[in-house]
């Protein structure tokens, strides 16, 4: 249950991070001669790197944890089936 909550929380973070990456926040421009308003900078320079970085790392963690969780679930089901079958085997 706690694992599920953690996974959902991390998934919830991901779209937020991506959406944030799309919006350029106001930034002072790097050294240059004339005044260039932020909206005139090339778009790649406007993008803050941190949300992309966080989104990338969050995705890695989420993907790995979801996989481990699915393994856990499948193993639990198999254990149940195994116990079931062993009860059905006639005792010698």
């Amino acid at each position: 249950m706690k694992r599920l909550v953690l996974v959902i929380a991390l998934i919830a973070l991901l779209p937020g991070a991506i959406v944030h990456a799309q919006q350029p926040p106001p930034q002072p421009p790097t050294a240059q001669e004339d005044f260039v308003p932020v909206s005139a900078l090339p778009q790649a320079e406007q993008l803050p790197a941190a949300p992309l970085l966080i989104a990338a790392y969050a995705f890695v963690w989420v993907a790995l944890m979801m996989y481990v969780w699915s393994l856990w679930r499948r193993m639990a089901r198999l254990e149940r089936d195994l116990a079931d079958l062993q009860r059905r085997v006639p005792k010698p």
Binding site: A44, A50, L52, A56, V68, L71
Partner: protein, 218 residues
């Protein structure tokens, strides 16, 4: 393997817990700055994707030519891990590219061939799931072709003009980055071994259940 499992698990947990700090302490790359730190997860994941493709291919060959059921189970596990690590590569890459190259995706040799490798192993999983009886052999052939594809993916970036960095980058890292990078690689290798073992164990358990089921039915 079972005796090593828990110590390896603890080691992997420790490595991954320390990873953010190690990565944060690595020096910034000149042109790309902060976003380059995705490198420490993107490249080891790609390495594990290639390794897993080889494991799947070799295990499939052993299954096809030696009829070893255990090899088939390893192949199934490795096939899933190619898709998992491939997904990580294909998501972290564009997130990095958006900042570094200005575009999410480019149809150049490296990206296209990586996507195709991922799709080959996705098809591998589809065949195993929906191919009906005898699909393990079909899937085995797919895995062999997928494995043959890996060297092509690797060298594509050296022979074609692409935006993607060349393979020489890894060997010529700055000293500070080198430590962080190989630390990440170690963590991912241990993680890969653990996941492969877990998944194979699941397959083994599945096979046992099926055997008992068939024995009961008789």
């Amino acid at each position: 393997m079972s005796r090593l499992f828990v110590p390896l698990l603890l080691l992997a947990a420790a490595l991954f817990a320390a990873a953010p700090f190690v990565v944060a302490n690595a020096p910034f790359e000149e042109t790309m700055g902060l976003v380059q730190k995705i490198f420490y997860y993107h490249v080891p994941s790609a390495m594990m994707m290639f390794v897993s493709a080889f494991v799947c291919g070799i295990a499939s060959a052993i299954y096809l030519f030696r009829r070893s059921a255990a090899a088939d189970r390893v192949a199934q596990a490795a096939g899933e891990l190619v898709v998992l690590f491939g997904l990580i590569v294909l998501v972290t890459g564009p997130l990095w590219a958006r900042k570094a190259w200005g575009v999410w995706w480019e149809w150049d040799a490296r990206l296209t061939s990586s996507l195709l490798l991922w799709m080959i192993f996705l098809a591998y999983l589809l065949v195993r799931r929906f191919g009906g009886p005898g699909s393990e052999k079909l899937a085995g052939a797919m895995a062999l072709f997928g494995m043959a594809n890996v060297p092509f993916v690797y060298v594509s970036v050296n022979y074609w003009r692409t935006l993607h960095p060349k393979t020489s980058v890894v060997m010529t890292l700055a000293p500070g980055m080198r430590a962080a990078f190989w630390f990440s690689v170690a963590a991912f290798v241990i993680l890969y071994v653990l996941l492969l073992t877990l998944r194979k164990r699941l397959e083994d358990r599945q096979a046992t259940v099926e055997q008992i089921y068939l024995a009961i039915e008789e």
